[in-house]
Symmetry: C2
Subunit: 196 residues, 2 copies
Amino acid sequence: MTESRRGRPGYDRAGVLEIAVRAFNEHGYDATSMGTLADRLGLSKSAIYHHFPSKESVLDAALEQGIGALEAVLAEPGATTGRAADRLRFVLERAVHVLVDRLPYVTLLLRLRGNTSVERAALERRREFDRAVTALVVEARDAGQLRDDIDPRIAERLLFGMINSIVEWYRPEGPEDADRLAQDVLAVAVDGLRLR
Amino acid sequence: MTESRRGRPGYDRAGVLEIAVRAFNEHGYDATSMGTLADRLGLSKSAIYHHFPSKESVLDAALEQGIGALEAVLAEPGATTGRAADRLRFVLERAVHVLVDRLPYVTLLLRLRGNTSVERAALERRREFDRAVTALVVEARDAGQLRDDIDPRIAERLLFGMINSIVEWYRPEGPEDADRLAQDVLAVAVDGLRLR
């Protein structure tokens, strides 16, 4: 069901979601009503309800775009086969791509405060993702592939602190594309800034 | 002027500021009124006005605690003398300490949206701080002390992405103290996670 029953052009479900996510990021989820969304879309509230039964279901779909894509990275062959350190590199690199490709959705995900059950469920999935990456750091360390003088949980948080910061400053129209940015993140994370 | 004129115990100016910052971080600055602050403090609004003429002046004082401390790092001898790479290390290390020591104040600073002139002034000071650190990265790179294959602005943003993330997950009561955390940040930033 991606078209309005009245054949109104312009907004299918994905289009509504895109505008909604921008509004949530600009004004905050709590401060954005279905009426505000309708105004932005130039639609009636009932046209939005045609796609989404509630504001929470809009949020749920938007968060799925972010957390679902990150979870999918963990299921890719690059994350499940090979040396642990190489799988970690793969996950970091792909996570940068997810952030860049789905910038507004991941921004929304990272700014969640956990006020509703939908938000809390997404936060729990984020924590589960972090735990999976931490387990990879542990595995790589135990295999003698990474230094062992940093607590793996701290290492994971610093790595994703660096990666997640991208949503704060990355501009798609800037000179740095996602490939280059992913290389820079890996360069700092794996080798550091020191000249060799 | 650090005491209520009525000799009411408990809240001097710093105490009011501490409670106010917690409220701003929990509920957002816009959503926190002087009345809310008065309720939290168990004071009358006029008792708060005794210390701060307006809600914006509370915000201004709170932001100063964060950005002022970061600016002060740049003026310390460790940041102004010696090899550029060592000065950069010094600034990163001291910035971690500022974040940990002034966690709620820096959290407030990092979550600013720039809705008021006070917020915009603090954001401009943050940008100035970032420019100064970027200049240090450039200097260290040009002196052959840091790798030259990463854009210094990107490097600075990734470094402070990592450092600023600390406000999202650091718990003062946890096992990691500020010294240890600063070492971990430098370990990742300078040498990376690769085993040597």
